[in-house]
Amino acid sequence: MGKIKSAILTALIVAAVAVLAFFAVVSFPVAGSGGVKKYNSFISSIHLGSGFTGEARTVLYPEGVRSEADYLSDMPEIPQGEAAEGLTQEELDEYAKKQNDYVAKYEKRGSLYIEKDRLGDNEAELIESVKKDAEVLNDRFNQKGYSSYSVSVQDKFTVRISVPTNFSYSAYKDADDANRTARSEETSKISRTVQYLTASGELTLRNADIGKGNDNLLTSDTADITTYFKSFKKYSSAKRYAVKVNLTKEGRELFSDKTEQIVNNASSDKAVNFYVGDTQLISLTVEEAINEKSFYITVNDGDYAEDYSIILNSVANGKTLSLDYGEAGDIEIVYTSASLGNYAAIYFGVILLLIIVGAIVFSVVRYKKLGLVNALSVIIFALAMIVALLIIGIQLTAAGAFAAVLGLALLCGSNIAAFEVIRKESKKGKTMQSAVKSGYKSVLTAILDLHIILIIVSLLLTLICVGEIQACGFIFFIASIASYILYWFTRFMWFVTSSPVRDKFKFCGFKREVPLDD
């Protein structure tokens, strides 16, 4: 390759990498917005695990169980001072009686206030019901594939749920641009998921026009709804989302009958509405009678589709909550600080940067200008990982970042192994071209073996596992593929950059031992 060709190609690649690196790591205020809008770098927009951005947690109180704050805020007050002026003693006694009745109704248990009629003989039953409900909730949240989450029993009578916030660093620090996924979008997603997955009650199908009773039920009160549905599944294709409803034979007959009735008789409500307890989930708009084994109900968002399918599957399989945990609006969600410290994400970024700098410095010291070629591959690898994490939306945890670092080690290890073999070959007196050719040939199988093994193991982890391990597997899968591609990219760039150089041994920091015959 000629000098000019080599220089142009190298300059183009380096410029592209530099531009990408700038937008990947630098956040800055958008010019002309008066500092209101901010461009968030790729790296600050990656979703992070609870160790870096905290968790969202809530406590569910069953009916008759109250927190101290709720108990005190709802306690009837006895007017005092100015408010008591003009009131008769009888009226004051009435207020006092109301307060006494309220106090007498509850018994304090630790930090909780529990209605007395729920204790005594019913206490063991209440505790058991809370425990069973925690297991049902655990089963529902387990299907969300969170990197970490927990469902536990708190103070014997309440259920506590913790899920990762899925914030990016910019969202965690509340420095988001309006055009990007804002903190509020993530919090509303969590609120909605908690609201749906904690819904109490049975699954019912309702229609305002042809439904019976106060609840407009399409099935009789005694009907066992679990016999109508096989499963509910999330379905997505080309950014369109739906819930796929699979029916049993009985379910098919029911839907055929009811949808025909809706088409013929309903005037204002032309839909089959799916309810869990009193929470309406999805509606199937009916235009003609449905007589199929399965059908799709379109929803706006992939997260909606997932939440609906989880809760509907759970209740259709008889896994309903035995206690009522109040209205969805009553659930208070607390967003906590990062468990690894408020600046964990920054520290972590610094560690990763140090590892990259270390790899670059080592290769430059040992292999001179060839080390720079390896450095370029390392930087491209880092950028590829950042872009992949951002586009695919994988939640990055400490273990996930470790998987990415292992990928980087794999790339550097592969390159260094090849360089070392070539160094040995060149010591035998071979020309650079011949040494490179035989060096790459001799390590070909070992490098290929290594990558095949790692790609398949990481693929197994991705396909079989859930949560954090699945994310780690997927990150390592991407890292292994990137490593193998960049291994050959290094070979290509070595050729491009060293072509115009006269002393190719000096370029690599190698010494050629000329045989005596020469």
Binding site: L406, A446, V457, L461, V466, I469
Partner: protein
């Protein structure tokens, strides 16, 4: 390394490994019945106690003031927390399950009294007990399945890439290394969470890589007329000596990267204990991998090789000579 005759001394390696694994199983079983489980399950799976403080920003605009009140109360009650999270006007301090409930309640009441001084009745503190921690059960089951699939895949890959005897040796090495890794975790009582599978997978991967390097050398040495004459034990010892660095480097690199990352994280979290488990898991994974691949694999493979050679020799001599 080159002077060690490992292959002929398989009995020593088997004794060491057996003692280690038996000790791990014994410690695990004792802890299963008298303590908190076979492994020391980490925070993700453990019940704990907590003090939750809800403070009004009107009364306490600076959360440091709340922190100071809590720290003093805990110090007076002589109790220590292991984790603390802030958020939305709430602070939660986590205590080990073994801390007495009365002490935690007394501390919560002391915090409550101090928060409500000067008529600040919008803030409060309460003690809680969190038990039956669920979550991650499915992750553990699927992690175990993925690990088993990884080991099975390795066996199939080695059968195709190398020989059946080599595949069997690698399979044994994987089972052995995982056994040693789990035994070390059980003995050291390292708190384990779902990350145990990440490091177990790392052990399997590093073993596979190490076995690849070792068997490549064995194949080259068998093809070489001079080294082939060394016999099964000699070839295995020589191959191990030649590939020892290559076997150690991936495992040590993995462990070093883990240590480096988690050391920085411990600085961020201001807690060594929180990240120590990950570092120890990485170190144990590397130790199990280097020990198993460098000592156990040559010893077992040389036996298989010798069995194969003997079998060949026997059948060679018994082969009936065809009549012309």
């Amino acid at each position: 390394m080159t002077n060690l005759k490992i292959s002929a001394k398989m009995h020593i390696i088997i004794i060491v490994s057996s003692v280690l694994i038996a000790l791990g199983v014994a410690v695990g079983l004792i802890c299963e019945f008298v303590a908190d489980g076979y492994f020391n399950y980490g925070e993700d799976y453990k019940s704990y106690k907590s003090v939750e403080v809800t403070y009004a920003l009107v009364d306490f605009p600076d959360e440091d003031a709340v922190e100071e009140i809590c720290e003093t109360a805990f110090k007076d009650a002589k109790i220590k927390y292991y984790g603390c999270t802030f958020g939305d006007g709430k602070v939660e301090y986590r205590f080990s399950k073994s801390v007495k409930t009365e002490k935690i309640q007394a501390a919560a009441e002391a915090v409550n009294a101090k928060l409500k001084l000067d008529g600040k009745d919008l803030s409060s503190a309460s003690a809680h007990e969190i038990s039956d921690l669920l979550g991650g059960g499915k992750a553990l089951t699927l992690g175990a399945i993925a690990l088993a699939s990884g080991v099975a895949f390795q066996f199939i890959y080695f059968v195709i890439r190398y020989k059946l005897a080599m595949a069997l040796s690698a399979l044994l090495a994987n089972v052995h290394n995982l056994g040693v890794f789990l035994a070390l975790l059980s003995i050291a009582r390292v708190p384990v969470g779902s990350n145990i599978f990440a490091f177990a997978a790392l052990t399997v991967v590093a073993t596979m890589i190490g076995c690849c390097f070792f068997f490549d050398r064995v194949r080259k040495n068998i093809k070489n007329e001079v080294t082939a004459k060394l016999g099964a034990y000699g070839v295995c010892d020589l191959s191990m000596a030649e590939s020892f660095t290559s076997v150690c480097v991936p495992a040590v690199c993995f462990a070093f990267a883990a240590v480096l990352m988690f050391v920085f994280l411990s600085i961020s979290a201001l807690s060594v204990m929180g990240v120590l488990s990950a570092v120890l898991c990485a170190v144990f994974s590397a130790v199990a991998c280097v020990y198993g691949t460098s000592f156990f694999t040559p010893a077992t493979y040389s036996r298989f090789m010798k069995l194969g050679d003997d079998f060949k020799a026997k059948h060679h001599f018994k082969k009936p000579v065809k009549k012309a």
